[in-house]
């Protein structure tokens, strides 16, 4: 085997007392797509940030093209022709595509910006790699798939022999993923090596040549993709055999509990975010909402939960019309809400666990008497929920911001499931959680459904929707394009609808 393009030896990186990378070895051969696989928090992104000069390692060495190098900042990485495309795209929404590409590029005619030269090169690149783009548009006007293209162009402009892609498919629909994989193959054909970070087994198996698995900051092993299977990889990732594609029992829907009729939402400067949404959620049913991020999912949840007043249409709970819903009215109607942004919206980060658990009920008995908070009752309530939901914390007075993502989510669930007497709205409930936490969150949701609660499950994770939902509706640019049964056979139809194709016969 020839000398590898990149070799990282015994990389150590600690944050406080957390060892994110624990003596990790990693190598990439020239011309390969090397997948870096692991759960959330396994240390994949940390390792790559070390390689890109964003973090300084506490130990270990990096060899690049056979030479030992030290990377003090991304400047050094760029100089060595290493490019990185981050999970959260590093683009300025208010800048044009051209400005985003130009930023930080050396100019042949300093201090002027090399605008003409860049436009010409951009056309070359577009033809050479099959990446056409209009450079005069502002990035915020582009769909996520095209924004990612801008990122790739940015990296190619700086010269990249190695491209690091951090969870690049997370923002793409299944069909866009196909297109994206074609681009990757094309890049490899032009001599670019690729590190592909993911936690999705099927994608890794399809696109990569070799796979390295990380778990809890340690390298578990590297195998040829030819020899890998989903169960092998899953066991390497999690450390034990895992049941894959675990699906929950379906059925059990009874009478309608939530009905939306022609609900629309118009926002200033943005326009129509939701267009005449008509949906029915039944008790004991999980209704999944699929769609690429940013197609109105979070607004739909906010509207149903009364956080944003809708512009037109009607909403009913158990047949009773709800006029001007507010969070309080919806709570009184028996609704619980697990919001998308648990850190900023779902929790008050510097409040204790105990206080977060009464965020919606602190002003009524038994937690409140004559305007005063009854601390003893608040703590008793916390003790019960902490035990019931197995929240791992130092104690109930610990600020909730110090908990892990999984435990934060359990605090929210502990609060909201108590409120969800009739229905629950859950948005990305397992996003960013590891396998164990994900599984327990799904169990909690399923148990609610069995109790006869109707659940509106909004998720970008199609596997999750298929595993849990009785029916799945697809949102595209604020419109419901169709509703299909929650089974694997619906996948092609869902993929097409996610890209805007309307389904004629709906379930």
């Amino acid at each position: 085997m020839p000398a590898p393009l990149l070799e990282m030896r015994q990389i150590v990186k600690t944050f406080g007392s957390l060892r994110a990378n624990d003596h990790v070895d990693f190598e990439v051969q020239s011309g390969e797509i090397h997948a870096l696989l692991g759960e959330n928090g396994a240390g994949k992104t940390t390792l790559m940030n070390v390689l890109y000069g964003l973090y300084q390692p506490d130990g270990g060495e990096i060899y690049w093209k056979g030479e030992k190098i030290t990377l003090h900042s991304p400047r050094d990485a760029i100089r060595h022709r290493i490019g990185m495309i981050h999970q959260h795209l590093m683009l300025v929404p208010n800048f044009t595509v051209l400005e985003n590409i130009l930023v930080g590029l050396p100019s042949p005619k300093e201090p002027f910006l090399p605008i003409q030269e860049t436009l010409t090169r951009l056309e070359d690149f577009a033809a050479q790699y099959g990446l056409p783009i209009d450079p005069t548009l502002k990035v915020k006007q582009l769909p996520l798939g095209l924004q990612q293209r801008v990122e790739i162009l940015k990296a190619l402009f700086r010269g990249a022999d190695l491209l690091i892609l951090d969870e690049p498919t997370a923002v793409l629909s299944p069909l866009e993923v196909e297109e994206f994989f074609a681009v990757l193959k094309n890049l490899v054909g032009k001599g670019v090596s690729i590190i592909f970070i993911s936690h999705k087994l099927d994608e890794v198996l399809r696109i990569s040549d070799r796979i390295t698995v990380l778990r809890q900051g340690k390298r578990i092993g590297t195998i040829e993709t030819r020899q890998a299977t989903q169960p092998i990889l899953a066991e390497m990732m999690v450390g034990r055999a895992v049941a894959l594609d675990h699906s929950f029992p379906k059925g059990g829907a009874a009478q309608p509990i939530l009905e939306l009729k022609g609900v629309s939402l118009t926002r200033p400067k943005v326009g129509r975010v939701l267009k005449e949404i008509t949906l029915t959620l039944h008790s004991g049913e999980i209704l999944g909402i699929a769609g690429i991020d940013g197609n109105g999912q979070e607004e739909l949840a906010d509207v149903v939960c009364g956080l944003i007043p809708y512009s037109a249409g009607q909403m009913f709970i158990e047949g009773r019309s709800i006029l001007n819903p507010t969070p309080r009215k919806m709570k009184a109607a028996g609704l619980g809400y697990v919001p998308a942004d648990r850190q900023r919206v779902g929790l008050v980060k510097n409040f204790s666990i105990a206080h977060n658990l009464v965020l919606k009920s602190f002003d009524a008995p038994p937690f409140n008497a004559y305007g005063f908070l009854r601390e003893k009752v608040v703590r008793l309530n916390a003790q019960q929920i902490i035990a019931e939901f197995d929240i791992r914390a130092a104690d109930l007075l610990q600020p909730v911001g110090e908990l892990s993502g999984g435990n934060q989510q359990k605090v929210i669930l502990g609060r909201e499931l108590k409120l969800a007497q009739r229905l629950l709205v859950a948005v990305h409930p397992t996003r960013g959680l590891d396998v164990g936490a994900t599984e327990s969150v799904r169990q909690f949701l399923h148990a609610q459904k069995q109790k006869g609660i109707g659940i509106l499950l909004i998720s970008a994770d199609l596997d999750e929707l298929l595993a849990m939902s009785d029916r799945i509706a697809v949102l595209f640019r604020g419109e419901i394009l169709g509703v299909v049964p929650g089974e694997a056979a619906s996948l092609p139809a869902i993929s097409r609808m996610m890209l805007g194709e309307r389904l004629e016969a709906t379930a």
Partner: protein, 373 residues
């Protein structure tokens, strides 16, 4: 997995120790900041050619040489305490009101306008009525920026500071014009007539100048402690300050809460201004405040926005002020050194969030977290 620290059980002794250490750090940090600021102050004094030890000795003598001086310290601390309480309250809700100076002026204006009226009211009615006037005057001056911030997210820092200048000119107009004492006299000062005897705050520790306003301040500190940390309203106000999005999600009327908090803050500044007139100056003068509203910002921050912390900080700065007057008289060091010290306290407190981040308390939580996988 099994030895995870308590889910529902009481905290371990180690955790309790760490937590106490954390509290201690929060309490001690601001005093460390004052100490550091005094050291920098000493360097500045030395730069002007005065022996800093001599200057600080004069400062200390000014504070502690007699009961009279101690009384003076508390007199100086009183308006700082009352304004600081209001500011701590509003800062807790994430609104950075730096308009206390203007609110103080407007409160003092309305309060004095009532206090100078010869309505033949008994003191038990005239004093509260004047103080209420002060609260209304200051509260109204806080209402506009509070509403604009809460409803339209208009930066309160700019609006409140501009309103400060406007308020000072309004008071200037009244002390030169409609409320001027004896306007026909050739050499009349720009000030109102003396407040009625029935509206003057009684002295509570003769022969010192300490007046009943200090007791009012203590009562307000206790009240605000209860409201902020024991009552549902304080829970809401702190939730709004910690995360506006979360408060909205929880169904709180965030707009109303921010407006109320801002009005209370402005109202307390107005009360402080009125107390200063009714208890000390007895006349409203043009430009009567030496920047009390700005000093109180340092006090609220130093007290960590906690009423009891603010009480300590106000007394400390009252002492610095009295001591600095003595230092100016006897060592020739300008009193404005106190402003410099206040500014440095603000700097230290602003950056100490970073230091607290490294507190041992937190690393202990981290370890507990990791143990739980």
């Amino acid at each position: 997995m099994e030895n995870v620290p308590s889910s529902g059980s009481p905290p371990s002794p180690a955790l309790r120790r760490a937590r106490w250490f954390g509290y201690l750090q929060i309490i001690l940090m601001p005093f460390g900041a004052v100490l550091a600021a005094l050291i920098v102050g000493a360097i500045l004094i030395a730069l002007t050619g005065v022996d800093p030890l001599f200057a600080y000795q004069k400062m200390w003598e000014g504070i502690a040489k007699s009961n009279y001086q101690v009384g003076l310290v508390l007199v100086k601390a009183t308006p700082l305490l009352i304004i600081g309480l209001g500011l701590g309250f509003v800062f807790n809700s994430g609104v950075f009101n730096i308009g206390a100076e203007g609110q103080l002026y407007m409160g003092a204006l309305l309060g004095t306008a009532i206090a100078i009226q010869n309505w033949g009211l008994p003191a038990w009615l005239h004093i509260p009525l004047s103080l209420l006037g002060g609260f209304v005057g200051g509260g109204l001056w806080g209402l506009l920026p509070g509403y604009l911030k809460a409803r339209h997210n208009i930066n309160e820092v700019i609006t409140t500071i501009l309103l400060n200048y406007i308020a000072i000119y309004i008071v200037s107009y009244f002390t030169h014009g409609p409320l001027r004492d004896n306007p026909l006299a050739e050499a009349a000062l720009p000030q109102t007539p003396e407040v009625q005897a029935s509206a003057q705050l009684p002295l509570i520790w003769p022969p010192t100048r300490l007046h009943a306003g200090f007791l009012l301040g203590l009562g307000l500190a206790l009240t605000l402690y209860l409201v902020t940390y024991r009552m549902a309203f304080g829970y809401k106000a702190r939730a709004v300050g910690s995360s506006l999005a979360a408060a909205h999600y929880a169904g709180m009327n965030t707009t109303l809460i921010m407006v109320i908090v801002m009005v209370v803050s402005g109202g307390l500044a107005g009360v402080a201004g009125t107390v200063e007139i009714l208890g000390v100056q007895h006349r409203l003068r043009d430009m009567f405040s030496p920047g009390l509203g700005y000093s109180a910002i340092a006090i609220a921050l130093m007290g960590n926005n906690h009423p009891f912390g603010i009480l300590l900080a106000a007394m400390l700065f009252g002492a610095l002020q009295v001591g600095a007057n003595n230092m100016q008289a006897l060592a020739g060091v300008p009193v404005t050194i106190v402003d410099v010290i206040q500014a440095m306290v603000i700097f230290f407190v602003a950056v100490s969030a970073m230091i607290r981040w490294r507190a041992p308390l937190l690393s202990l939580f981290r370890r507990a977290e990791e143990a739980s996988g």
